[in-house]
Amino acid sequence: MDLEPHTWLILGKLAGAGVALGFGGIGAAIGMGNAAGMANHAIMRQPKVQREMLRTMLIGQAVGEGAAVFALVIGLFIIVVSPANLDLIGGNYFAALLGAGLSIGFGTFGSGLGCGWPAGNACAGFARNPARSPKLTQSMIIGQAVAQSPSIFALVVSLILILTAKNGTDLPTMGIYISAGLAMGVSALGSGIGSGQTAGGAVDGIGRWPLAYGVTLRTMLIGQAVCETPAIFGMLVAFIMMFAMGDLNPGLLGFAQVFGAAIAVGFGGVGPGIGSGLTAAKGCAATALRPDKDALILRTMLIGQAVSQSTAIYALIIALALLYVVG
C-alpha cells in the first residue's frame, strides 16, 4: 500500500487511541460499578458505618480507576505526540500505534475489572465486622496493587512500541508491532481478572473470619503470583518479537508467523489466568476459614493452578514454534 506519510500517521493515531480507550474503559467501568453496587448493599446492612464504607469504596475505586487512567495517558500520548521527521513515517509507525493501543486497551481491561472485587468485598466485610476496617482496607490495597501489575506490563510494552517504531513500510515489521501489542494486551487480560478474583476471595475471607489475616494474605500473594504467569509469557513473547526476532519470512508469510504466535500466547493466556484466579479465590477463603489446615489448602491450590496453567504453556510452545521453528 502506497499511502502518504501524513495519512499513515493520522490512521495510526485514530486506530491506536480508539482501541486504547475503547477497550481500556470497559474493564474499569464494570469493576468500579461492581464495587459501588456491593458498597451500597453493605451500607444497607450497616448504615451506621457508612462513612468508613464510602471512604474504602472510594480508595478501592481510585486504585482500580488507575487502569483506565493508564489507557487515557497512552491514548492522549498517541494523539498528541508525533515523531520529529514526518516525511519518513510509513506503515510501520501506523502498526506501532495500533499495537500500543491493543496492548494498553486489553491490558487494562482485566486489571480494571479485577480491582472491583476486593473493593466490593472490603465494604461487605465492614458490614459484617466494622471493628476490622484497617485490616480490610490494607488487604484490599495490597491485592489491588498486585492486580494492577499486568496493566503496568502493558503500559511498558505500549510505550516501547510508540517510541522505538522504525520508518518505512514492510509487512513483517508491521506484523511484529501489531502482534507484540496483541500478545501483551490479551494475555494481561486474564491475569488481571484472575489476580483481582484472588484478592476478592482473600478480602471476603478476612471479612468473614478475621483471625487468620496473615496466613490468608500469604496464600493470596502466592495465588496471585501464579495468576500473573500468562501475562509474563505474553510480555516475554512481545519482547522476543520486538528485540530478538531473527530474519522473518518476507511478505505475508512473515506476518502470518508473528500474528499466529500473538493469537496463541495472547488468547491462550486468558483462560489459565481466570482459572487460576477462581482457584486461588476459593483457596484464600478456605484458608481464612481453616487457618490450621493452611498447608494442605495451599498444596491443593497450587496443584490445581498448575494444571490450569498447563494450557498456557501449550500456547507458549506453539507461539515459540511459530516464531523459531516454522520460519
Binding site: L253, A261, P272, G275, A285, T300, V307, Y314, L322
Partner: protein
C-alpha cells in the same frame, strides 16, 4: 465490441503481470502456508481458554471443600485431578491440531 488488436494488447499485459504478482508473496502456496500458521495460533489460543477456566473452577471448588472437610483431602484431590484431566482433553486436542497445522500442512 472491442477491437481485436486492443484485446490482444490487454491480454499480453495481463500475462506479463501475473509472475510479478506471484513474486510479491500472494501465490497460492504462500497463502495456504500463511493460513496454516494463523490457524495454528487461533486453534491453540482460543482452545486454551476453556480448559484453563474449567480446571480453575474445579480446583477452586476442591479448595473450598477441603476448607470445610479437611479430613477428606485425599479423596477431594483425586476427584479434582480426574475432573481436570477430562477438562484438559480439549486443550490437548487443540495442541495436536495446532501441531498438525504447523508441521504437516504448513
Amino acid at each position: 465490441m472491442m477491437d481485436p488488436t486492443t484485446l490482444l494488447t490487454l491480454m499480453n499485459a495481463a500475462v506479463a503481470q501475473a509472475p510479478e504478482a506471484a513474486e510479491a508473496g500472494i501465490s497460492g502456496a504462500a497463502l495456504i502456508k500463511a493460513g496454516a500458521l494463523i490457524g495454528a495460533g487461533i486453534c491453540m489460543g482460543f482452545g486454551a481458554i476453556g480448559p484453563g477456566i474449567g480446571e480453575g473452577f474445579a480446583a477452586g471448588k476442591a479448595c473450598e471443600a477441603i476448607g470445610r472437610t479437611p479430613q477428606e483431602a485425599g479423596l477431594l484431590t483425586r476427584t479434582m485431578l480426574i475432573g481436570q484431566a477430562v477438562s484438559e482433553s480439549t486443550g490437548i486436542y487443540s495442541l495436536v491440531i495446532a501441531l498438525l497445522m504447523l508441521f504437516v500442512i504448513g
